[in-house]
Symmetry: C2
Subunit: 230 residues, 2 copies
DNA sequence: TTACGATCTCTTGCATGCCAGAGCCGTAGC
DNA sequence: GCTACGGCTCTGGCATGCAAGAGATCGTAA
């Protein structure tokens, strides 16, 4: 599954290729639909096709590329349906994370979340959307980590990679008033977590995800449906 | 992701190996901890190491095997912690599936679920635990499919494969009275789905999963903690 | 001008060979 | 008897070469 961090010592070639390519895809450095030739990548990285091939195969299972046998490997173009599904999963998993975190009580992640919100308030106050986007990312990341369920975390990361989320956050934050609302919603969630009210924390977190999705899709150009909407 | 079914025409060698090995692992035909040598498997299937290697790599991302570089590939031994996490995810995803299904209204899967419960009642009545175990599996499968969210379904399948669930179901059903309770809980869930009460369907489904987990762990021998509990 | 077809090129799938790291086992020294 | 060391064997990591399928392209014929 998506291991965004960790493991620097046993840097096998394919692990390097995986991280590199994953970074390019989720950052948008390579456009969806782009052909990723094994040979071209191998030459670019100065390695043989084998590790590249294995890296692409893993990225396929992560849903980031699509390997069409004997044709080519392409950066996945998410269909509208898939995006909807991904947001459903985001809502689901983050909601669950909020619940689990609330059940755990005061753990280090909660302190970090409080610090995050303090800085978020400042960023919103001075309308620093760039910085606030980072803080939003950190907030959600901390929440999921705080749930202390590695499976949940791994699957969450995989799904968010498919959304290429970092690119999208800015879109939603550019809507007037959205940063302020977002920040307030974060506060409500954390309050409920501190109150150890798992049920409510989950519910409010879900609402927050739905709101952010709405804000995002409203500011997004229409995306052509990919071929794979069944 | 785990594609349990589909895709017979483009049967590449590695796809064959993946399905075969996955089947062996989740059915318990190979013990957890077993060494899976690339060379041995290649000879067994009469192919070269390459497709075997790629198959094992995919099974690793599915969490079914663990590749220790330069050492060997082993069937994953889930730690107690991982099992707990997997059940948390099961509760989460099946609960969400129940909610989503309830929102969809009367779809074909609902009819199939009703048929499933009719047969389940009979199986329980005549104490046919073998058959009832199958029906339980179908029930949960239908529920998740009925949620009509491919991402949810794919991740659910992956997680359940890690649990090697089919092997476990019988354990819980051997507890006196458990089949009857289980069947009744299924009925309650479906009733709420039919009433389109998503909130309650999710809540009851979660309770059901927790109950089945309890029944299962109670009848299970203590498993030694794997090394990989971080 | 258009439609069809052969060919040609690019793609991945698979086989094979070599290499380095890890672990094991036997042996030698204490 | 115990410990430490050295080689041996097994493991996967990687490089490379060939084959087959898919798609584009260009020429030819209607």
């Amino acid at each position: 599954m998506a291991r965004g961090t960790r493991e620097s010592p046993p840097t096998s070639i394919q692990a390097t290729v995986i991280e590199e390519m994953r970074g390019r895809i989720i950052s948008g450095a390579v456009e969806p639909g782009t052909l990723l030739s094994e040979l071209a990548l191998a030459e670019e990285y100065g390695v043989s096709r084998t590790p590249v091939r294995e890296a692409l195969k893993q990225l396929q299972t992560e849903g980031l590329v699509e390997i069409r046998p004997r044709v080519g490997t392409f950066v996945t173009i998410p269909s509208r349906r898939e995006i909807t599904e991904l947001f459903e999963m985001k809502e689901l998993l983050e909601g669950a994370a909020a619940r689990l975190l609330a059940q755990r009580g005061r753990v280090p992640e909660v302190d970090l979340l409080e610090a995050n919100l303090r800085e978020s308030d400042e960023a919103v106050a001075r309308d620093d959307r760039e910085r606030y986007a980072e803080l939003v990312h950190d907030f959600h990341d901390l929440l999921v980590r705080g749930a202390d369920n590695h499976k949940l975390e791994a699957h969450y990361r995989t799904l968010m990679n498919q959304l290429a989320y970092p690119r999208l956050v800015m879109t939603s934050l550019n809507r007037p008033g959205r940063p302020f609302e977002s920040d307030r919603e974060h506060h409500r969630v954390l309050e409920l977590v501190l109150a150890k009210d798992g049920d409510s924390a989950e519910r409010v977190m879900r609402e927050h995800v739905r709101e952010s999705r709405r804000a995002l899709l409203a500011g997004l150009p229409v995306i052509g449906d990919g071929p794979g909407s069944r």
